[in-house]
């Protein structure tokens, strides 16, 4: 048996139990529901339209990209070539900088010789790399050559004199005179006296005739020149 201890006998029906609030739930719930539904639809519509527009935009962009792809590749290729050529140009500028003007100095050499001394070989050498080695393939492009080039900014330069002179007695007079001339101011812009190597010896093949008054000697002198600067 269901016992209820309350003396409150309420005859009011549930349908008669109304809200005193000006905002009526009975009215507001459907309105709110409708608003929720419509706003959801609007959001969905916006999303759908946005998605569609994005897809179209993506498609257009893809078409444009495919159109520009060949041009893009060409541009990239040209850029690469430009970069390479600019690099070469820069290298050439370095080489231009590194040019040592030795013609006038070497022309002055004629003043250093007498009739008793003769120059048979004159070699001005720099440390040029061996471009075509035995182990590596022949470079095909300028870039390949550039890769083989030295990366240091200074190149050592050597000057080699070979020749012969006549000497009477023990003292190599002619040779000393020549070496003294090379110490002169005219050659300071070309050679240094550091690590100078002077070799001379009697040219036995020419001195077989003992009747001659003077003997023939051969010399080989190596000078270290001022370095080539690429800066």
């Amino acid at each position: 048996m269901n016992l209820n201890k309350s003396l409150h006998f309420d005859f009011l029906l549930e349908s008669e139990r109304l809200s005193s609030s000006p905002l009526r739930l009975r009215f507001m719930i459907p309105v709110f529901g409708f608003l929720c539904l419509s706003s959801s639809l609007v959001v969905w519509q916006m999303d759908y339209s946005g998605g569609k527009a994005t897809t179209l935009q993506k498609k257009d962009l893809e078409t444009e990209i495919s159109k520009l792809k060949s041009n893009h590749e060409l541009v990239l290729k040209n850029r690469g070539e430009t970069k390479e050529l600019l690099g070469q140009l820069e290298q050439l500028k370095y080489y231009q900088h590194s040019k040592n003007r030795v013609a006038e100095t070497l022309a002055y050499l004629t003043n250093c010789f007498t009739s008793n001394i003769q120059l048979t070989e004159l070699a001005l050498t720099t440390q040029m790399p061996s471009l075509v080695g035995a182990a590596q393939p022949k470079p095909k492009t300028a870039l390949d050559i550039a890769k083989l080039c030295p990366t240091n900014m200074l190149d050592a330069v050597t000057l080699r004199f070979k020749g012969r002179y006549y000497q009477s007695g023990v003292v190599p007079v002619e040779l000393n005179r020549f070496l003294s001339a090379l110490k002169g101011n005219a050659f300071t812009s070309l050679v240094t006296q550091v690590n100078r190597q002077v070799d001379y010896q009697e040219d036995t093949s020419r001195n077989r005739n003992e009747s001659k008054e003077m003997d023939v000697y051969i010399f080989d002198i190596n000078y270290q020149c001022l370095p080539r600067s690429f800066q």
Binding site: M1, N2, L3, K5, L7, D10, F11, L18, S19, S20
Partner: protein, 339 residues
């Protein structure tokens, strides 16, 4: 389909809380509508406004009158009485409250017109109480307050039970232990209720009300009924002999009830309460002591309920007309007590 019953603690959490209710008595027969606005604060109940509102109470008294009236008026209460919710108590000769003889007892009133009825069992060994309100009056009362404007109806009760609810909130009743008998005096009848632990175990109505007492005393003293009240308030004369003969049958009923409590429930009444507008209250008390031999405690509806600081009290002398608001106050209190 299997039904799930939620625990009362969870149900109570979701149940609407009523803390500000205006109680209104419809069909009171007065020139206005008794209204009491009660708020429930941390300190307990407080009366916010009390008064007889100048409203046209056209509660239909017959089914024909209800059918004839085109539409129910829409009431708008004064601001002081505009609580969010209104608890309505209907006083009508069509209402009924009685014990049934069995669970499926037919209600004869339903043969005359459509009724709203509620049954409730308070103790397992007692027949259930059934209360009824005619549909034409209930529908009329329920549609007095339209939606979207304060107040709206939150409860519809019959005044007999609303008065009992007011009585149950009285401090003397709350503090009383054991069994008690309550007399609820209205204009046309007196309800006698035996309570055990504040629950009604026996309900009877005796056809003697204030108006009968007034008529009888006036007739015996050969006075106009309107003069009786004034005369009884004066100490110059003793009207005990008139009252004894009038009240004796009623107080005999009290003795019968007490006898019932003693024999059937083994708990004789230790407290006797009376509520309502008593004509010649001192004679009622004196006669009760003389006939029953017990003290009678008069329960006023607003005892134990303080006035709020800004309370609006419309009657000049509230104490003298306090009993007119018993049903209205009881209606509001029942709602707030239950929520």
């Amino acid at each position: 389909m299997k039904t799930i019953t939620l625990p009362p603690r969870i149900v109570a959490r979701f149940k609407k809380k009523y803390t500000d209710v205006v109680g209104l008595e419809l069909g009171s027969g007065l020139s206005g509508v008794p209204a009491v606005r009660i708020v429930k604060g941390k300190q307990g109940f407080e009366i916010k406004a009390v008064g007889i509102l100048d409203m046209l109470d056209t509660l239909p008294q017959t089914l024909e009158a209800a059918n004839a009236s085109e539409e129910t008026p829409s009431w708008s209460l004064p601001k002081a009485f505009c609580a969010p919710h209104a608890a309505l108590a209907v006083t009508s000769k069509w209402n009924f409250l009685r014990h049934t003889s069995g669970p499926n007892e037919e209600i004869p009133e339903k043969k005359k017109c459509e009724y709203r009825d509620l049954r409730r069992t308070f103790t397992p060994d007692m027949p259930e109480l059934v209360a009824g309100l005619p549909e034409f009056q209930a529908g009329w009362a329920a549609s007095l307050f339209p939606e979207g404007r304060a107040p709206t109806a939150c409860s519809l009760q019959i005044s007999q039970l609303a008065i009992m609810n007011s009585f149950n909130q009285h401090p003397a009743v709350k503090n009383a232990t054991g069994s008690s008998v309550g007399l609820f005096v209205s204009s046309q009848s007196t309800a006698l209720v035996a309570f055990q632990n504040r629950l009604p175990v026996l309900y009877r109505e005796f056809p003697l009300g204030t108006s009968h007492v007034q008529q009888e005393v006036a007739s015996k003293m050969q006075l106009a009924p309107i003069l009786v009240q004034q005369l009884l308030d004066e100490d110059a004369m003793d009207a005990s002999p008139y009252f004894e003969s009038i009240l004796k049958p009623l107080f005999r009923q009290v003795e019968i009830m007490n006898d019932y409590l003693s024999r059937r429930r083994n708990l004789p009444a230790t407290n006797y309460f009376i509520s309502g507008a008593l004509l010649g209250a001192r004679y009622w008390h004196a006669m009760f002591i003389k006939i029953v031999g017990k003290e009678l405690t008069h329960c006023r509806p607003f005892e134990g309920i303080p006035m709020a600081k800004d309370a609006v009290v419309l009657p000049d002398k509230l104490e003298s007309v306090e009993s007119l608001f018993t049903a209205a106050a009881g209606a509001a209190l029942a709602v707030m007590e239950e929520s």
